[in-house]
Symmetry: C2
Subunit: 253 residues, 2 copies
Amino acid sequence: MGTTQLESVPEPKYWHLKTVLSEALDSEFSVGEILPNERDLAARFGVARATLRQALEQLELEGRLQRRRGVGTTVAPPRMGVAVGTELHVWPGAPGDAWQPVDCVTEVPAAAVAAALETGADEPVHTVRRSRVTHGQRVAAELLHIPAASVPDLSGIDAPAGVARARAVLRELQRLELEGRDSAVELGSARADDAKELDRLPGAPVLVVTTRYLAAGRTAALSVATYRADTCRLTFGDSGNVEIHEDPHRHAS
Amino acid sequence: MGTTQLESVPEPKYWHLKTVLSEALDSEFSVGEILPNERDLAARFGVARATLRQALEQLELEGRLQRRRGVGTTVAPPRMGVAVGTELHVWPGAPGDAWQPVDCVTEVPAAAVAAALETGADEPVHTVRRSRVTHGQRVAAELLHIPAASVPDLSGIDAPAGVARARAVLRELQRLELEGRDSAVELGSARADDAKELDRLPGAPVLVVTTRYLAAGRTAALSVATYRADTCRLTFGDSGNVEIHEDPHRHAS
């Protein structure tokens, strides 16, 4: 018992290298600086390329490094805090919403979306695509699924497609009384279209926030938002951000 | 505009294979079943081993597959919803808390933790290690940092170490009036000791939830909780879980 339990687990070689590299990033490199190539780094630290690559992958997962095609590996800035507050009990598209509508399609959705919305097998659903920009950077992409039954008075005449259609759907949604919302966060991988929009490679790790908006006892809208996991820290709560930019894992390691 | 924007991005080969594999998992395999080895799978789908491996990695990120040392690759059960509600304005260790204390150490913490707590350079901090079990599975490990100043009346005599010490620290914490809390979720990689506790390999992707508890205008406690990203979906809000077990990304892909 006592202190030994925190210290007694042996760490693999790449893990030790990760710690050493992390300290080198702090002391020798500045944000945005390009790292030497893998061959030079492996030679400098006296490790195999495979070990080096594992350590670099860890640092990328933790948001310390960014790898971009055609640029190389650079030192990442601290992750941005992006508010995903659950206290904001308003509909998507209400004033102050951080998301910008991009597009809208209306069709029968995939089975999983229909099941989550509890819509019938042939019921059409409006899917609004939206984009979120923070500090000048596109940080998230969203598909907002709204069953046709949630916006029965929507007219197809004045805004048949595109961003105007998206705005019309969101405007109609405001007419409902919002009864509550709940959210879930999980790890996912970037779909090709999201990846392109977020300037990432397809399959890059992302944080997927699924939010269900409830009205009249049913799911009136379902948002599936994909956040860049490399640059974003999702913040919840009512009193500002948790300010712990350095790796909080270093303690006891 | 219109529908084309959602459909026009070409997808890489492993991405297509991922979709095909995902359908095969649905139709041919049951939860817990072990997949054929990589050589056989690559032959069956007519792809290179490297392409197969990329597709398997994606499915692991998305929680469809689990890879365990000595077992192989198995079909994962749906992710568990684990509540991380921000509406629960109570101290850690209060009745109903889902976490079990394991251990406690008192020492001057790492610089990043001291900075987040705004403690002085030499101020000791109690670090309580806790564990969270859901549906019989250990899903998360936590380090809860509590500055000595938050629990000034703590006596070292009756519980000098271990789980009894952890309980004594938490009990003292309850004396303060909780003014608020905020949380942040980000992607991380499992530290060796957490990995062992969570039955994962070191460096496995994890969801790190950092929560700051405020009292008397300062940070009275800081929790850094590490959740298994493969099996957990973190839920927020007041009206039950978002029930979308199937990959919500399939829509429009």
